[in-house]
Symmetry: C2
Subunit: 391 residues, 2 copies
Amino acid sequence: MSLTFTIHKTENTARRATLALPHGNVETPVFMPVGTAGSVKAVPQHLLEEIGAAGRGAQIILANTYHLYLRPGHQTIRALGGLHTFMSWHRPLLTDSGGFQVFSLNELRKVTPEGVEFRSHLDGSKHFLSPELSMDIQIALGADIIMAFDECTEYPATLARARESMQLTHLWARRSLDHFRAHAQEVPWHAERYGATQSLFGIVQGGMYPDLRRQSAETLVAMDFAGYAIGGLAVGEPREKTREMVELTVGLLPKDKPRYVMGVGYPEEIVEYAALGVDMMDCVLPTRAARHGLLFTSEGRINIKNRVYAEDAGPIDPACACLVCRRYSRAYLRHLFAAQEPLAAVLNTLHNLARYLDIMQSVREAIESGTLSALLADVRRVEGEAAARKA
Amino acid sequence: MSLTFTIHKTENTARRATLALPHGNVETPVFMPVGTAGSVKAVPQHLLEEIGAAGRGAQIILANTYHLYLRPGHQTIRALGGLHTFMSWHRPLLTDSGGFQVFSLNELRKVTPEGVEFRSHLDGSKHFLSPELSMDIQIALGADIIMAFDECTEYPATLARARESMQLTHLWARRSLDHFRAHAQEVPWHAERYGATQSLFGIVQGGMYPDLRRQSAETLVAMDFAGYAIGGLAVGEPREKTREMVELTVGLLPKDKPRYVMGVGYPEEIVEYAALGVDMMDCVLPTRAARHGLLFTSEGRINIKNRVYAEDAGPIDPACACLVCRRYSRAYLRHLFAAQEPLAAVLNTLHNLARYLDIMQSVREAIESGTLSALLADVRRVEGEAAARKA
């Protein structure tokens, strides 16, 4: 068994399902916190296992192939038993392909059909990443779900450029799949998990062009991946465009396989996309925003740096039951941030992640009880009110 | 009740006692982690309550008057119910007088018999700290134990300079005590704790001169403080000199009151001083060293940055039962440090503090069973072997 996906209930396009993976079950729709270099920044693993609704913790987290390849190196992690063992996270893991990070390097990279030559952001050393190497790295890391090597098309892009980029992604998807199938049994936990292997997801590209998205979905679905990601979104386009592309692409993907939108989003967005039928999402937003003092609450966002919180004895969010809201005041959190205390990042991150996990728990419960439309309306109302307060 | 000190057992000069304070009991000898700005750097309070022997956590922590006076301000903390409530730490707290921090400013201060004029290290703003203001600030913060305002004599100092400095400390001790006695009932939790007040400790100075130390101890003991600190140590003198001054001064202090050596020390030192009859110690060493990758183990110190740990699957210290040693490898901790992950500071600090708390638990158990000399010999042996390995 490498992956099974069981849908329990649907409400319109939304699905409530269980994704069974070698390291455990994931109840979907799910939000996956990002642990770039093998650590969800500032949060000890045992707290990550406890945060959020009913203290159940994060179900699955994401790590970045690019970062771990450069440091400490995938061979080191393989030698230590794979990423689960290395970082002492024994629940499911997902790694991206490294493509998006290399794409983000801009000046430091050169793309050819063979792969991407790039320079390390750490020391300027030269590297070459191909679909085959991306698979080798991801197999050595041993996440439960791994991603095909793709090119994330920039925004804006002409139709010709988006098509060319998409075709490269398809070529690399094929090579990723072939290489993965030939080496899947090399994953560090293959024997220990009774012959289980990782699951490889394909990534739909096509920029903001519906025809290309359609073509990309068809091509990848024909290759028969274990799941499908919708890539190339949240790269600078208006949010309405993101939503349009998600809605369109979701409709082109097989109903019986998990669908993953990469790199989204704000709380109201993740509810929207779940309603459209997306099963998995990840984003650095809750963790990165936390380190900058931006906190998500049931009534919108607050910036804890704000002077109005200096003597505020209340919690970040009176409706939140997270360990931070149960124990600390806005005044204390503001002080920690102002004094640049390392605890600020720890507590802010714990709260924001708990908020995201709670939102997804609400989404799952709403689908079960057939009330997702009501939840979505409520989320939109809060968002609208918050925008009105700002204006 | 503000403080009771009950000695249960002694072994030579060492004492095993309970210090009962308004916010709870402290089993001594005790090591107090330092939470400079109202946070033991990088550690959430609920973990601070759990670390160390038998998961009992830190019994008492220290905060700095100077830092909290400048930011967020003692009036803000008073308005929020005092430091216990502000930082959500409901066990005992101790604040220093601010004297040592102001002393550390060097160029930015001017000492007169009235007090110290200094400039903030944050924004250069001018301030004046007197014994009376130090008491007002510490009463507003509301720690269970507060310290008289003193001048920490620099090292080296001539006899004349050390005497003059000591006399200033005595003058300030008198003024601290008078002001504290006149305002003790203004502590934020006075009513809530059924009329309890804080306890004020005097600080013995006198540099490295035995005659001055004797004179200082006599003068302060005559003022009848609730406890006595030995200040002006660990300011650059050789360790043998520190030990000599501690031994001499402890012998001059009343047996029935707690004795506190400020700002020490390495693991082997805190065991030495406990054996000499010291009841309380504090130091930034375990927390600060942790943030620089220096970890304390039962077999000496290790620097986690070292390349030899890159593929080391073992824990920091196989003999340690802390949550870090139970879960993470040296290889992972080295990676976190090298990648400058914020989790490095969190985990390293948790381990070092657990180590210090465990050491003090061993000291307490050794005094109870009359085996402190054996423990001390063992600690010295490890220290000697570690030094030999280095040489």
